[in-house]
């Protein structure tokens, strides 16, 4: 899970989930606490889905 997807592609990651921003990849300080946690959960669920998906090569899970 990373913000700068091009770096993950360059260095060779296979399952890539784009994140929010470099200082807070899994959060957004501008959101109220509960909404921020929902955002984080959605991102983690996306990562879990990526882990359960067959991939042939480098894949971005938008």
């Amino acid at each position: 899970m990373c913000t700068v997807v091009p770096i993950s592609l360059t260095v060779g990651a296979n399952r890539i989930v784009p994140a929010v921003a470099i200082p807070h990849p899994l959060g957004n300080p501008e959101l109220p606490c509960d909404e921020e946690k929902l955002l984080r959960r959605a991102l983690v669920e996306k990562a879990l889905k990526a882990l359960q998906t067959e991939v042939e090569g480098q894949t971005i899970f938008e």
């Binding site: 913000t3 296979n14 200082p23 807070h24 899994l26 984080r40």
Partner: protein
């Protein structure tokens, strides 16, 4: 040193240059002959009076290619018997199996015996790409026509290595770049060099980049998780999330280590318990709520709900800021080994 005070040089050759025979003799096992053989005569001439080719080790290319590890062990044993000061291998020009043999023998002699080693190859020889990082490989022509020139350049650099003198740039010394980066002070500042390079590029004149683009590894993707509700998941981050106070003192940049930290009893990371050690981003948000980098809170919820089987009781963290790729790969391998031993099925890796 020989009894008359000369440096002792061992020379490695394949069956062809070692005058045993052609392709039909490529299975020949390693053997030693005293003194120089074939190209060894040119080598001895270039060495002059200061050094002597005391022995030539000859081995068939196929024997090495088919038994890489064993062959290199056997050859290494023969080299170490010679009490030598340095090893010269080849040159192999564009002969692929010979190039690989020179590379593997040279690499072993340098690593195991700590011995100065020189070889020579054509730039496209597969051995060049495989071993240029480990040993000095002089760039040669693609065939034995280039023997005399190659041997001269090889000897010049070898003597520097033996005397532990400063080795110049690949252009100055004639070796294939090893991809190792060192600093020096140039005549002109970077801005002036940039403008000059741009003018050359615009005019279509030749120029040399100061930094060839790096290559990165590729790995085959792992098969997907089959049953998430039974899986053991671990959390790993390069975003520097560590227990408050940074107990391992992981560096804010160029991390020299990673940390392994217990998550036992924690359901949420807070500014009381954790912080970031990372010096490459604005730390305020991660320090307020470290879950923004390492999502422990939601992963605990998902375990409670039965979506995820279990969470590995430790998280792993390093600082991915100015940390070299080679070190990062090392930490990654060590963390992976630990996770594997703990029976972890999958990892969520977060980066900043």
């Amino acid at each position: 040193m020989t009894s008359n005070g000369k440096l002792r040089i061992v020379h490695y050759l394949n069956q062809f240059f070692g005058q045993i025979g052609g392709e039909e003799m490529a299975g020949t096992t390693p053997r030693v002959q005293p003194g120089p053989v074939g190209p060894g005569l040119a080598l001895q001439q270039a060495l002059g009076n200061s050094a002597e080719v005391v022995a030539t080790i000859i081995c068939g290319d196929n024997y090495v290619a088919d038994n890489l590890e064993q062959a290199s062990r056997e050859i290494l044993a023969l080299i170490s018997e010679q009490n030598a000061d340095a090893l010269v291998a080849g040159p192999a020009f564009n002969a692929g199996r010979y190039g690989v043999a020179c590379g593997i023998v040279g690499q072993a002699a340098a690593r195991e015996l700590g011995m100065p080693v020189i070889t020579g190859m054509y730039v496209e020889n597969p051995g060049a790409e495989l071993y240029r990082k480990d040993i000095y490989i002089i760039a040669t022509e693609d065939s034995a026509r280039g023997m005399k020139d190659a041997v001269g350049v090889m000897v010049k650099l070898l003597m520097k290595l033996i005397r532990q003198e400063k080795v110049g740039s690949p252009e100055e010394e004639g070796y294939l770049p090893r991809g190792i980066r060192f600093n020096s002070f140039a005549e002109e500042n970077g801005a002036k060099r940039a403008v000059n390079m741009l003018l050359a590029k615009l005019k279509g004149e030749p120029f040399t980049t100061e930094l060839p683009m790096p290559d990165f590894d590729r790995v085959t993707p792992n098969p997907p998780l089959e049953n998430l509700s039974k899986a053991k998941i671990a959390l790993v981050t390069s975003g520097g999330i560590v227990p408050k106070g940074n107990p391992d003192r992981i560096e804010s940049s160029s991390a020299s280590k990673y940390g392994k930290y217990s998550l036992e009893g924690l359901s949420d990371l807070t500014s009381e318990t954790h912080e970031t050690a990372h010096g490459g981003y604005d730390p305020v948000y991660a320090n307020q709520d470290p879950d923004r980098v390492l999502p422990l809170d939601v992963v605990r919820d998902l375990v409670k709900e039965g979506v995820i089987g279990e969470l590995h009781p430790y998280h792993y963290a390093t600082v991915g800021n100015g940390t070299s790729v080679a070190n990062a790969a090392k930490y990654g391998a060590a963390i992976a080994a630990d996770l594997k031993a703990a029976g972890v099925d999958a990892v969520i890796l977060t980066s900043t």
